[in-house]
């Protein structure tokens, strides 16, 4: 090999090593930055605890017996060792209902992101990739959907489709799709315009390589932030819908529905109204803190 060839070979080697180092350290830097944010870490811990409690509920309670079955002799019991939060007007253990209610809320929340993310990626990526009139039409439609307030949209969809679980998820997913497609589109567009993508193209890199190596890793950040916000928002929306009677129906425990029942009882049994509310606040707060922390950790500009 000539001198120049040896140089370029070792140069390539160095390049490969650098690339590996770079990829690993990018996630690491973001994670380190996130770790420093105490509030975000608090949010992460609280949410993890909630997840554990909700998923492990069957270890402490029996769904049918504690949350569904009515024990009219046990109505309105005060908090005691047997029933840590007391019982409701049908004698059901309040704590059990709150925890199982959490399952529903989380399930709906995650299902909502899946739906809105899938549709959002399809719409947003197509708009960004094809550009031109496709982009225009898709974005005009998105604007129209966005012009309708979120709760109203969900309400309309549920009214039309009915309130089975599947329809609820569909309704919530659809009402979150416009925002998600907007996000995906701007993430993809923003990146394709960057110089380093143009540089990659000029080096002869294939489109798929560009998409996977450059676009996706950079788009994941804002999408992740939006995902936490979407789960938080959908917990609030589903509870609102259930509160007005359009969401999850009895006797399935759901925080909003529980609050709706508690309203007539709260004069003398405030715990029925407080407990589900606190549950909602805790879940949404932890997600919001986490989302904010993620957003700050992904932002390359330092805060100070």
């Amino acid at each position: 090999m000539t001198a120049t060839e040896t140089v370029s070979a070792s140069g390539l080697q160095a390049q490969e090593r650098f690339k590996k180092y770079k990829k690993k350290s990018q996630f690491r830097t973001i994670w380190n930055r996130l770790k420093k944010n105490r509030l975000a870490m608090l949010g992460l811990i609280i949410f993890s605890v909630i997840l554990i409690i909700v998923l492990g509920a069957d270890l402490a309670f029996d769904y049918e017996a504690d949350a569904i079955a009515q024990h009219l002799s046990q109505r309105f019991k005060h908090p005691s060792w047997q029933h840590l939060l007391g019982t409701d007007q049908y004698g059901r253990d309040l704590l059990a209902r709150v925890i199982y209610g959490g399952r529903i809320s989380l399930f709906v929340g995650i299902a909502t992101i899946c739906v809105s993310l899938t549709m959002g990626i399809v719409i947003g990526a197509s708009a960004a990739y094809y550009g031109g009139w496709v982009d225009n039409v898709l974005m005009r439609f998105t604007d129209m959907f966005l012009a309708i307030p979120h709760t109203l949209m969900a309400l309309t969809l549920v009214a039309a489709l009915g309130n089975s679980m599947l329809n609820l998820i569909l309704a919530m997913g659809l009402s979150n799709t416009p925002r998600m497609s907007r996000l995906v589109r701007s993430a993809v567009l923003g990146i394709t315009e960057q110089d380093y993508v143009k540089a990659a193209r000029s080096c002869g890199a294939k489109d798929s390589r560009i998409i996977f190596r450059h676009i996706l890793p950079n788009a994941i950040g804002p999408i992740l932030v939006q995902a936490t916000q979407t789960v938080a928002r959908s917990v609030l929306t589903i509870s609102a819908l259930s509160f007005i009677g359009l969401g999850i129906s009895e006797p399935t425990p759901e925080w909003g529905a529980m609050l709706s029942e508690a309203k007539s009882q709260m004069r003398y049994h405030a715990n029925l109204a407080v407990a589900p509310g606190v549950a909602i606040i805790t879940s949404v707060l932890s997600l919001t803190l986490l989302g904010d922390g993620l957003r700050d950790a992904l932002d390359p500009r330092l805060k100070n």
């Binding site: 012009a147 979120h150 309400l155 309309t156 609102a240 609050l259 309203k263 709260m266 919001t288």
Partner: protein
Amino acid sequence: MIRGGKSVLRYIVKRLVMIIPVMLGVTLIIFSIMDLTPGDPAMMILGEGATPEDCAALRVEMGLNDPFVVRYCRYIGNALKGDFGKSYRTRIPVFQEILNRLPYTLCLAFISIFIAVSLGLPIGVLSAVKQYTIIDNAAVGTALLMTSMPSFWLGMMLILTFSIRFKIFPPLGVDSWKCFILPAISTSATSMAALLRMTRSAMLEVIRQDYIRTARAKGASECRVIFRHALRNALLPVVTVVGMYFGVGLGGAIVIEQVFAIPGLGQLMVNAIRDKDVPMLVAAVLFAAIIASLINLVVDIMYAYIDPRLKSKYVVVKIRRRSAS
């Protein structure tokens, strides 16, 4: 002094023209979604004892068998004349019912956005200027709590405290102005918290800008720097969002009306859904959505007056044309 008056007018007209397809789109979306509702309207109107022939005849009479486009255009045509159909349940013109209810909901929505703006913005500014102090931490903490709180739960807690415990405000109904206080506070909480956080972060962003440093280098007092330089720049992005939060407030009002038994549009919608009264529901949702869009438009126009970069975009074009000719 309003500079560039004519060019701002041009911007307003442009925006007004653009809002029409958006509103048509909104009506189309709502109409098509509601079209998916299962059930036979004719049966609902005539009641259980109706024969299939009667139902079929009524369907033809109401034009329910026509293709979608025809029905949609007919609906829009009628709507523009003020005819939104008759309620399936009460046979009263829908428009009348909505007009009865609308003022309460609008009142609630406007009061709530007013509270949100007049509390959220100043506290956000204060929080940013006194970053990391107790005021800032308290404000941000409270705001975080309020964004995580469902408005109807806040409403219930307020009723517990101020209506049941302390008997200051009535919990239900619309008999006096006092009845609007608790509902308005409940609806405004989310928007206020969001506006507070937005204002705070916008101010923090602006204070770090170079032109703030220039202002300080001129010898301006800190007070002047904040109010004359930072504030106006920071409020620009916040103003654009106020319109959106009006829409959020409108959505919140729907739920709050259930808590406080306010006979507004929200209650109308909920009843209509329960009774499967499609014309009522379509009209109610339509009204709400259109009003939200119009408020957004108003906010956009206001923004044009505040941000000189938008104004001058049209003035510059004029100058270029003049010098070219």
